[in-house]
Amino acid sequence: DVKVTQSSRYLVKRTGEKVFLECVQDMDHENMFWYRQDPGLGLRLIYFSYDVKMKEKGDIPEGYSVSREKKERFSLILESASTNQTSMYLCASSEYNEQFFGPGTRLTVL
């Protein structure tokens, strides 16, 4: 079975802090994705990556950056966290169409 893990289930940070969210997948998938999930807005794509060191902006990249130094790991970075970035963050990986999701990280920015 594909396993996608995220470094934290819950995270509380202060405004202005730099935040790292880590995602690791164990199925050698080429594609990895970061979403945020908010009530009434569904899943919105922040960034995605098709290969190591490659990244593409999704629908809402502002305030975020990503890093993919190894195929299995995709990191989401909040350079200076703000309260409007309080959300559930979901990582996913895929080889073709179906995306496999991690359990999510619920981030609260105070």
Binding site: G40, L45, F48, G104
Partner: protein, 112 residues
């Protein structure tokens, strides 16, 4: 703009009844559709998918129907059980190399 949406945000059914969750999409060029189930506190899990060259696909207790004429997708769950209570998302692939566009989700509640 192109979007995927759901007709109802919540659905409540009696245990044992069949459930139907609907989804509308606007991109007629989309050729792949997928349903996910998300239980509380967990990430979305794959349920079933369908390609645009098919009208119907069946899984275990679930059926997905695709009507390309009216750009409508539905998920049918037979003999709904309490464990089916979750939020269900439809998604379409927008021909951009694996990117999915998600609907807002329907919350299914199963009454015992």
């Amino acid at each position: 703009g192109e979007s995927v949406g759901l007709h109802l945000p919540t659905l409540s059914v009696q245990e044992g009844d069949n459930s139907i969750i609907n989804c509308a999409y606007s991109n007629s060029a989309s050729d792949y559709f997928i349903w996910y189930k998300q239980e509380s506190g967990k990430g979305p899990q794959f349920i079933i998918d369908i390609r645009s060259n098919m009208d119907k696909r069946q899984g275990q207790r679930v059926t997905v129907l695709l009507n390309k004429t009216v750009k409508h997708l539905s998920l049918q769950i037979a003999a709904t059980q309490p464990g089916d209570s979750a939020v269900y998302f439809c998604a379409e692939e927008n021909n951009q190399g694996g990117k999915l566009i998600f609907g807002q989700g329907t919350e299914l509640s199963v009454k015992p």
